[in-house]
Symmetry: C5
Subunit: 310 residues, 5 copies
């Protein structure tokens, strides 16, 4: 059970009867063509491995198992999730994995396998397959949890209403959640099929591990599903807040108008040029009128303040 | 049939051939490891017991039954529902229950079992399993009813329109309902599976009790489902009320403008400095004009009052 | 086949080999306990009969049939629908019905049975069960039709836009429709099960009647489902109307501003105190200016009238 | 194979061993009762024929086939679709059809059958049944297409934004689409059942025709389903347009205010009565100020014109 | 295996035992009638070929396979997608394809078949059928990708908020996506049926190709489904942006009012004609007051600028 990274030295390194070959990057097509030929991989399967756009799926035959999965990876750019293409081919004692880019968790497993005391070395090839798929599922679960944290952060900011959240932020996180959902959802069906499968030589004990794997995959899918509800809910919250603010602006405008329109009108009254306006000649008329205007403004302002409009 | 709380004295206390062990808190891992070993619990099952994040599920084999459930518990903080992790393992005459925190209703059952005249002591181990799950389901039902009361209270306040309900309150109650739904929904499938199950040695009479249990679980799920509709409906109602208030504010603004814009204009007319404005010289012009302005204002105010805009 | 209303005289009155016992009100628990014991009703079934909160369901065994149904009844209060708990237990030649409150249609059937020439007296016990359930379904159908009339009335009022419909009215009717749906929906499954059932000794001819019963139940459910769509549609209509009115208010405000802002400005011009304003000295300046202002106002008013803003 | 319109002369006219009787209008109950008796129609079937409210359905027995369908018919009133009740009963060599009102396409078929050279006369009774149901389905398809044209017309008018579409028009067309959907949807299940049915003596060749019939029915249902999406989409479009217009009104108001508020203020400045306002005495002050005001207004108007607010 | 374009010379050109006839344009009915007769095509199948409105479907019998598909083609007009009617009939060694208009990819295949070294010439007739359907599916996939690019472009423009997107653009792209979905969706079922079918003489190896075909079809459907979500999301985004702009307009209006209403009022004060207004006589009153007004305006403008309202 030795991980091998080149085709040339493939025969030599495989020991314990079990071979695991991990291939990162799908560029060297000629080398890969040799590899496919060496392991008798069907042209259609080879096409699925090489084409990063091919769908997640599980293909079982009486002899072999072929799994395509998409692993969500966050890019630096906000709102963009890359889908790393990952394939696993299992035939007899040989397990081949292919990934679009090098995956850290596979390298870690590689290192763990070097240690001869590790539990994984004492199990059959079906356990190795489980271990590989479990790593993929665990990665997805952690990814979803990270996404969930970010959604909750945005929700808190929205409710606190201190940081001004842009609609774009919500649109982006929603896109990320939708993309993640589309990538992770097929895993549930694939693991369900695996856990109920008899076609591949799988020990009863390992079958139990595959059922556990399905539990994890289902949990990841449920969590993303929940996140979808939440982001939809965020949008509504955003709408309400916008509508709330609009209400606020309208109230300010109305209060201002309610205060200044009467005042301006009253000032206009004493700007009229009627010959006989007795008040105009009174000594204290002007200061009294000013005091009246100020009092009126203050009363109206207090009234609207109490109503919560200002 | 004696509840036991420690592993050491496990053999001694079990009598009547039936042992029920309830374990609260999942911290003492070394003790629990011993317990798992003693009862021959599979590592994956053990992991499910210890991991509070594991999903609700039912695992049946020809010998044992393993149930994971989530019990919703209200925290003091509004809008937050804790999921208490609860596991039940049944093998032969032994029933083990594990809960994240001590659960009051389990302690109550414990006390009831001390009473040798209790009906529960005269039934088989399957009846004990039913009794335990029935307590969990009953707890959930009561929890849902409490939630339902709160939703209805908010609905009443919204319609009365006296207390000003914040969008956050609705958002929080909606989150609580969604969380509860996610916790309780799996119970329906679990109890359905249990009530149609033959794998475990279950008396025909007890099977009837399990069907009853399923009825209760289904009722709880239906009620939460109904609550989800209701909270969605609350949001719409809130939107409408906000929109209604906005309409109100706009009407006030328009009424004010409709009253004061003409008045100010008319006052402006007599503020003009044309040399020949015959009205200005008339003795009664000013008071007559004032009366006219006031009448106009009153007529307009009454008009808008009647229209319901003021 | 004699309806009986007390337990004591139960044996005496039952003739023709068929007994129908109708029990209204679930208060006298001790009497009912005796009754349950007399007919050998299982404790769980008894609990379902006594607990008004138990779900609608059908329980069939090789010997007996037990149906729980909820009958929607309008209360005087608007927006509130009561669910009357109704149970039917059929074993051999005995049919027991229990209802939370006395149901008029059952009393009517009771009276019809007194007439020995009635068709119902010449059929078997299965026909009696059908007749009872048909009455319940018919009641539900009529109830739904009544609800449908009210929804249509509200819809007409909304579109006519003369009576001002409150959001609360729509919210209440929506709640009623939702509650009715929740009460009636299970009937479809129950009658479907009944019409395809072989477990109970049901004549081929009666089976046909049960299929007919299922048709009626399905129709009731479809109608309520349609009502749900309609009430959702009412809400949207209400929103649009509100938004329409808001538009109207805004247009009035804008028209008013467009008319009076220029007028006030123009009046302000001739209120200025420049030393050299030749127009001010002209004899006809004032009346000409007034005529100009009025014409401007009229032209603007006509313009906005034509635009439909005033 | 002669269509017959009265019961009395039923025996005489039927030739070729195949009888088709078409009955329009469900009023003459006594005559119909005789007819039902004559053909041995079960009371429940008779009830379904006479009750115009009974649901669309297919009832098959080893001897007979009974189909209830609803045919959508446009009434003159906009927004109202009548459901014409149509029943077909087939037993042995006899086909009875009943319709609430006379249906033109049935009369046409009647006439076609008079022509002895017609293909339909050379086929079996199953072909006649197919021909009848095909006419009904074709009618529905044409009805849906007509509805589709009207929906598209409204959509075009909404987007052109020239004709002002009322919310009621959209509400009405939506109601019509919903009603049509409810009437036509059951046809898909009925024809699916018919096309996969073996119970009735149906030639292999005719079975093919029934599969074709199902295709047509399914197409009609799909088209109405598509129309439902479209009308929902129309509503949203309407909302957006209303919101767009509101935006427009608001922009006009704001532009007007932005132009006249500063002008009025400036005019107000020179209406003040301060003793020392040197500008007031200058000879060209007034015309210069007027030119300034007009330029300001023009600049602002151009600015808002460019911004698309006026 | 020679493509043939006329019926007359049909017998001559077919070699290798395999005949592929591609017929573009459905106008020449008399010629086609001869063709149908020559190949013994059932009248109903012929009708499906000739009727461009017939639904996508798969008809399998023990001898033949008949596929109807709709190929989406973009028209020059925006918002309009044409459905090209495409039929494939396979019987024994003969494959007939019919398309409403000439399809470029079929002509390309035609040319490829001329080359005797091509792989496709060395496979059986089932491989030819696969190749034809694969071309159709590939065309659909490319079509969907093109549509997807356009949706993303609109999304970017909406978020950038520089180009002003009209509601109509979004409505049109939504219509296109919906239409494409309706055309492509049936392909998934058809290819699923084909890939699990045993009825037609299909080699095990080719079956694998058909499963691959199903993968592609499913991918296309999933992508369009995703596009539907996205366009729905675009609408919401558009609504929010409109609402956002409205908010902006309102803020400008309110800020303007808040600045000019007080100024106008203050100017009005000193326009009053009270006899005793001591400030009016002061030498520096006027310039000081002007400076005060300007400062007030600047302070208010800065305040609203900071608030983001101007």
């Amino acid at each position: 059970r030795q991980p091998v990274s080149g085709v040339a030295d493939l025969r030599d390194k495989s020991c314990d009867g079990i071979t695991w070959l991990n291939w990162s990057g799908l560029g060297e097509t000629s080398k890969m063509a040799k590899l496919f030929e060496h392991y008798g991989i069907h042209p259609l399967t080879a096409e699925d491995i090489l084409n990063c756009e091919s769908r997640s799926k599980l293909e079982e035959s009486s002899e072999s198992l072929f799994v395509v999965m998409k692993i969500p990876v966050s890019m630096e750019e906000v709102g963009v999730i890359e889908a790393v293409h990952f394939c696993l081919f299992w035939q007899g004692n040989t397990v081949l994995t292919f990934s679009e880019i090098p995956l850290k968790f596979l390298t870690d497993l590689d290192r763990r396998l070097d240690d001869p005391k590790r539990k994984i070395r004492s199990h059959g090839v079906d356990y190795l397959v489980w271990a590989l798929l479990d790593l993929v599922t665990d990665h997805s679960l952690r990814f979803v949890e990270h996404l969930s944290d970010r959604v909750e952060e945005i929700e808190d900011q929205l409710i606190d209403d201190e940081v001004e959240i842009e609609m774009e932020t919500i649109h982006e996180i929603k896109n990320e959640v939708t993309q993640t959902y589309r990538l992770i959802r097929p895993c549930r069906e694939i693991t369900a099929q695996l856990s109920s499968s008899d076609s591949v030589a799988m020990g009863e004990n390992t079958a139990r591990y595959f059922r556990d794997l399905h539990d994890h995959a289902a949990e990841a899918v449920e969590q993303v599903d929940h996140l979808r509800d939440k982001t939809a809910s965020l949008r509504e919250l955003y709408f309400t807040l916008m509508s709330h603010r609009m209400n606020g602006v309208m109230k300010v405008l109305t209060s201002l108008s309610a205060i200044f329109l009467p005042l301006t009108f009253l000032a206009g009254i004493y700007g009229m040029n009627f010959a006989h306006m007795p008040e105009l000649g009174l000594r204290w008329a002007y200061p009294v009128f000013l005091v009246f205007l100020v009092s009126l403004a203050v009363v109206l302002a207090i009234y609207f303040k109490k109503k919560g409009w200002l």
